[in-house]
Symmetry: none
Subunit: 224 residues, 2 copies
DNA sequence: GAAGACTGTCAGGATCCCGTCAGGATGGAC
DNA sequence: GTCCATCCTGACGGGATCCTGACAGTCTTC
């Protein structure tokens, strides 16, 4: 889950942000001043920071500097000042975006999504693991016991269609249209063929599959 | 030098931006409408795009979509509309920042710096090494056993497209749009040709490549 | 117990894909 | 104009991939 650190000294703003963020599925942690912000950031390692510039004690610019000394997590600055000098200072100090109060919640959330989208491009690849098999969906790569296994395009599409819905039954019709495209709903012999191929390459005992199960008369199921 | 693509149909804004950008050491190229923007972006491969939303003919949102189909270069949107709906739409379509007109030049430049900083900072791989080959992405330079190897522009773009995603499969479609620009998705003979050229120049045994692997039916992969 | 439906397996040929080569087109340097 | 590098198109052979059809085994149903 994506974790957001909200730094502001006004409780009502913190509460409003937290409610909206949680409603959208983010995990929220908070800090009331600059010192606490640096502490919480180091302890909880949020994916993004929303930082009010008008903080007591420690100046907002210094908080940015304190964060940038050891991390490049995205920082979105909130501020009541709309003069460009403050914006330039904050951005050049290392902030990634600058929103002036009062702000629209929709816009703030959209800017947050934009920042996160840019950052997750380099994140670790999502992978599905079961038994000795590891399926790296982002890299389009399959390994068994660390050794790479070569899959043909059709085998890969079928594997993807199964693995993307763990535990769920996928009907023959669904699999056929997903792998071979619409119009191939009757080529069930094909499905059996490639299913066997997948099991031969990925199952320990292809005759008695543990992960790629058959629901007779219905379809197949990936059981991790 | 950092290259900026400015897209706007109002000449005075283009000129003002170009003057300010050049004064700060950027290289500037321009486009007057959406179609030209996509064309220039593919041909010149700018480091960042400044895009006016109020374009004739092709809608700004569609331009964002057209760019995001094959590149993730930063996009800064300019717009006369300040209502949050347009901001949200543009940001969710793939824009990285949204500035409403009239804008302060200082602020715009600061936002530009912030975007560029993020992009070059996350990169952190100015050079890639594998076997006897060293690819210097920053300097556009390739050496094998210390000796410089000359690459043509197309060869270089292909190498870059592969090397920037180590281990990941890159589909033929991805490579074609990234190297030749959108609209060249069917020129697969080309891809094979330049792939062979790259292997001939960089692989020890071009017939049995170790780093530039092919996944039949899917695409190619750089394996360091 | 028999019939039918369903699944897993095997083999064979058609098709597609990849690497390679040659040749023409384009554009810039001199 | 000539030379040169680069880019693109088309064609060919070898190999991998895909599809079709047939057969045996298993389970359900009558």
């Amino acid at each position: 889950m994506t974790r957001v650190l909200v730094v502001d000294d006004e409780p009502q703003i913190v509460r409003a942000l937290a409610i909206n963020l949680r409603a959208r599925g983010y995990e929220v942690c908070t800090a009331r001043d600059g010192g606490e912000a640096l502490q919480v950031a180091a302890a909880r390692l949020p994916d993004v920071v929303i930082l009010d510039l008008g903080l007591p004690r420690l100046d907002g610019i210094d908080v940015i500097g304190g964060l940038r000394g050891w991390t490049n997590m995205p920082i979105l600055v909130l501020s009541g000042r709309s003069d460009s000098m403050h914006k330039v200072d904050a951005l050049d100090a290392g902030a990634d975006d600058y929103v002036t109060k009062p702000f629209g919640m929709d816009e703030l959330m959209a800017r947050l999504r934009a920042m996160l989208r840019r950052n997750t491009g380099a994140e670790s690849t999502p992978a599905v693991e079961f038994g000795d098999v590891r399926v790296d969906l982002a890299a389009t790569r399959v390994t068994v016991n660390g050794e790479e296994v070569r899959l043909t395009p059709t085998e890969w599409r079928l594997l993807e269609a199964l693995v993307r819905h763990p535990g769920k039954l996928r009907s023959q019709r669904q699999l056929l249209t997903e792998v071979w495209g619409p119009g191939y709903e009757t080529a069930q012999g094909n499905l059996r063929l490639y299913m066997a191929q997948l099991r031969r390459k990925l199952e320990v005992d292809p005759a008695r599959p543990r992960f790629f199960l058959t629901d007779p008369g219905l379809g197949y199921r990936f059981q991790p």
